[in-house]
Symmetry: C2
Subunit: 328 residues, 2 copies
């Protein structure tokens, strides 16, 4: 309970040496004779001394860190060309944080990264277990961003799809809707799996029958899926898409077939991409805080670089339900 913190200078006094010497012992650099070293170590032990991290950070802040951001070509491209907003915003979050924390960041492809960097940020769905293992082998700090690889114990920063899905489905149900269909991306991608699980759990908790269709952005045709749904399942009261793209396409198809949105069918997406607020009706969705995804990941890496030696952790950011016009 006591608030009296023992400081380096206390150790120095006890061991009858200067603060510089104690520091040398702690950091194990510079010349220290065996005799003195032992005395200092004993003093540290005796006082239960632990260095104040903040002070250490500050004093060390004269040194810079080199960090590599690794991403596959698609993500890389979407960062540099701002072709896709998602990753460029994440990237901005990283950059902004780094600027103020003496980290020099370099964007690199997954197959040409610098093994000598001080730390690594691996971004996006293209990151594989193999790559992570390879990078981990450098023994340098590693943080994965917007990608979760179950079973791999490493630091993650992701958005909480489960929580978001639970919230959205609960919300729809509270409006009296029961026939809620989920259209999701490939479940092998954890981001989709997470949202799917949240959807299923919530439907079951309320005693409603879940129904889901897989839609792969590159290979599948939404028109076909909607037809299939209408035939096999019938008319839904709401559709929850595992991302905005799927939700918007489903909405278009439904409108084409004469359904009124949101009167006949409510639609909810996930991500809050730019176009979510541009389509008509404007899409209700779960907003992912992309910028924070980046800045929190950078912060985590920074802490790791500063020698925070706890075991890896998964940090999940909550999403925010943004109610627009596509839901009753």
């Amino acid at each position: 309970m006591s608030s009296k913190m023992t400081r380096l200078i206390d150790v120095a006094k006890l061991a009858k040496v200067s603060t510089a010497t104690v520091s040398r012992v702690i950091n194990n650099n510079g010349y220290v004779s065996a005799r003195v070293k032992e005395r200092v170590l004993k003093a540290i032990e005796e006082l239960g001394y632990q260095p104040a991290r903040a002070a250490r950070f500050l004093a060390k802040s004269r040194q810079n860190f080199e960090v590599n951001i690794l991403a596959d070509d698609w993500v890389l491209k979407s960062i540099t060309t701002v072709l896709d907003e998602f990753y460029s915003i994440v990237h901005k979050g990283i950059i902004d944080f780094s600027k103020n924390h003496r980290m020099n960041v370099h964007l690199r492809s997954v197959n040409s990264w610098d093994k000598n960097a001080d730390g690594f940020l691996l971004i996006g769905g293209g990151i594989t277990k193999e790559l992570v293992k390879e990078v981990k082998a450098t023994k340098k700090p590693v943080v994965l961003v917007d990608q979760y690889l179950p079973g791999l114990k490493v630091d993650y920063v992701v958005s909480d799809g489960y929580d978001g899905a639970v919230f959205a489905v609960d919300r729809l149900i509270s409006k009296g809707l029961k026939r809620i269909v989920h259209i999701h991306g490939p479940l092998s991608h954890f981001g989709f799996r997470d949202r799917y699980d949240g959807y299923i759990a919530t439907m079951e908790r309320h005693g409603f029958m879940p129904k889901s269709y897989e839609f792969d952005e590159v290979s599948d045709n939404m028109s076909v899926i909607i037809d299939m749904m209408l035939r096999s399942y019938g008319k839904p009261e709401a559709i929850f898409g595992s991302n905005d793209t799927a939700a918007i396409r489903a909405m278009e198809e439904l409108k084409l077939r004469g359904f009124k949105i949101p009167d006949d069918v409510s639609i909810v997406g996930f991500d809050d991409i730019m176009s979510a607020s541009l389509v008509s009706p404007k899409l209700t969705t779960l907003k992912i805080f992309k910028y924070d995804l980046g800045s929190i990941a950078a912060r985590r890496l920074f802490n790791l670089l500063m020698g925070e030696e706890r075991h890896p952790v998964k940090i999940s950011l909550f999403t925010q339900y943004i109610e627009r016009e596509s839901t009753i």
Copy 2:
């Protein structure tokens, strides 16, 4: 990419004021005229300035924080009497961290806490949404430990039940087991829900039929549940309990009925309580890092107290699969 950090003094120069004034603006305390405040804000914006946390920590380290740990009577008792190891270890993690960070912590019951404390740590399954809201109303930092209340946006530090369950079930399946039964506590408790979801998702991913039974430690009788399972489901190849207590009791009942553990039935628990390694055969289980649960929560609260103003986050600690004698 540049490593040149903008500092408070740079902002001060640009805005033509002293560092003290800039600091006042940032921390929103002390007197600052609207005119000057605006100028400073503009300078901050222009330079993209972010305060260096380390320096801030250090400078603020003159002040001490009073923090309250809130827990229901049962948790409180298990901390103080070491009746239950779980929460006393979590508590120790908190205490140890606090000692070196100028936090004075006070253990309090959920109905007699100090509204004037600087921050709050709410521990255990007994924490209700109502309590959290009440505490949040103080506008002071709050961190929930070992309790997750979906829909409530607040900081959490929990162990990752989903990941642990996925790992355990995958492991059992890799041994060739298919008929894996899950015995779980009340799903209204998120800790159990999480593990349940992981179990279901993994079984389905492999195309196996999940089967689960609810077992409430206080009201249910394991003997009855095992009989029911044997009758309705038949003989399982493995049982995955959502905590060690359930797993151990199931094991006892199975042994009573002549099953050999692990030859006939493999058993896996969750928690790694003391007795897990005392029973015979020793229980294979997922270890929760209780001490780190506490220290990480304390650290998170500390960061919050220091004015880290990002939005709430859920921090999940990975569990560790400890293979002992109850699994083939």
